[in-house]
């Protein structure tokens, strides 16, 4: 289990493929709560890794990274990701994020443009309140949150025994024993002017049935070098449509 010591905590990450001369590695950031690096690691990342190194990491408090009582806001997420890039010796990387992970990647590109080559934003909720699931997060209702999942995933999380108990325990810890809910509540929108200033080539991926589908249109209008792809699916697009998402990201990064 590779861990990088970054920003004072251990960030679990997995490398797929070898570093290749002249090919910028791509770092993948996942979404909050039920998510961890596996949604990219078993999905789009291995497809991307056929032409460039792919690096998937667990956000703090998720998967096998350090569990911290605080720091679930986007700004701390950016500091964690920057520290991870430093510890891996990456001066510049492609960044791909799902949901909250996409907000972290976007903010990193805006604040440290020199560290990013290309950007993939999958289901970025902007403002965060554009995400329907946010209501259940803010009311710390784990049951409501699980109801929002695609059918097959929901069954896996609620079927009854060991895994369901572990999932419920993890959600409860994040929702009631950390500042995550307060951090999310405090997160604000990015002004249109800020978004217009982003120079990076950006691929936007949204699900046609997602509650933040409209955000895709807004970002496509505001981000000067962006392209929007709408796929059949909901908010958990990176996992739900993994092979297609992987191919779109690969084509975009290789093109």
């Amino acid at each position: 289990m590779p861990h990088a010591v970054a920003n004072g905590l251990e960030l679990h990450h997995q490398l797929l493929g070898e570093a290749r001369e002249g090919q910028t590695p791509c770092v993948f950031a996942h979404g909050l709560l039920i998510d961890n690096l596996s949604s990219w690691y078993f999905g789009a990342a291995p497809i991307v890794a056929t032409t460039r190194q792919a690096i998937c990491y667990d956000l703090r408090g998720h998967g096998l990274s350090s569990h911290t009582p605080d720091g679930h806001d986007v700004a701390t997420g950016v500091a964690d990701l920057l520290a991870l890039l430093d510890s891996l010796g990456l001066e510049r990387a492609d960044l791909a994020g799902q949901s909250w992970g996409a907000l972290i990647c976007l903010r990193l590109a805006l604040e440290h443009p020199e560290r990013v080559r290309r950007l993939v934003l999958c289901e970025a909720p902007l403002p965060p309140s554009s995400l329907e699931e946010m209501t259940s997060v803010l009311s710390s209702d784990a049951d409501e949150l699980l109801k929002m999942l695609p059918d097959s995933l929901r069954e896996a999380f609620t079927s009854g025994k060991r895994r369901a108990l572990k999932t419920a325990r993890r959600l409860e810890r994040l929702l009631t024993e950390t500042t995550l809910v307060a951090d999310l509540k405090a997160e604000t929108d990015l002004p249109d002017e800020t978004l217009r200033s982003l120079q990076h080539e950006t691929l936007l991926l949204y699900g046609d049935a997602s509650s933040c589908r409209g955000v895709g249109d807004r970002l496509a209008t505001l981000l000067p070098n962006s392209r929007l792809e709408v796929l059949a699916g909901g908010h958990y697009l990176a996992a739900q449509r993994a092979p297609e998402v992987g191919r779109l990201i690969q084509e975009f990064l290789d093109g």
């Binding site: 078993f42 291995p46 497809i47 096998l64 097959s152 896996a156 079927s159 092979p243």
Partner: protein, 88 residues
């Protein structure tokens, strides 16, 4: 040692002290329904498989071509078949 016994051993290592399965792991054992393997445990399993079977068994790449429902329906036998096909 067959591929099945190798994989069954790796699964037990990953689940560790949580292991409470009375029945033996067979080709028909489902990762999701029977083993209740968590996604992050599946990552640990993939890591151990890579270390055991070597680079030519690219389990993660193989999984990436599957839709979510197929991954959730995965049985131990599917993985055994995949590993054996890489060896031959």
């Amino acid at each position: 040692m067959t591929t099945l016994t190798d994989i069954a051993g790796l699964i037990q290592e990953v689940i560790g002290e949580d292991w409470d399965l009375d029945e033996e792991i067979t080709l028909e054992t489902s990762f999701s329904d029977d083993l209740e393997l968590e996604s992050i445990e599946f990552v640990s399993l993939a890591e151990k498989m890579q270390a055991t079977f070597g680079e030519e068994v690219n389990f993660v790449r193989w999984l990436s071509e599957k839709e979510l429902d197929e991954v959730i329906d995965l049985k131990v036998g599917d993985v055994v078949e995949f590993i054996d096909s890489c060896k031959n």
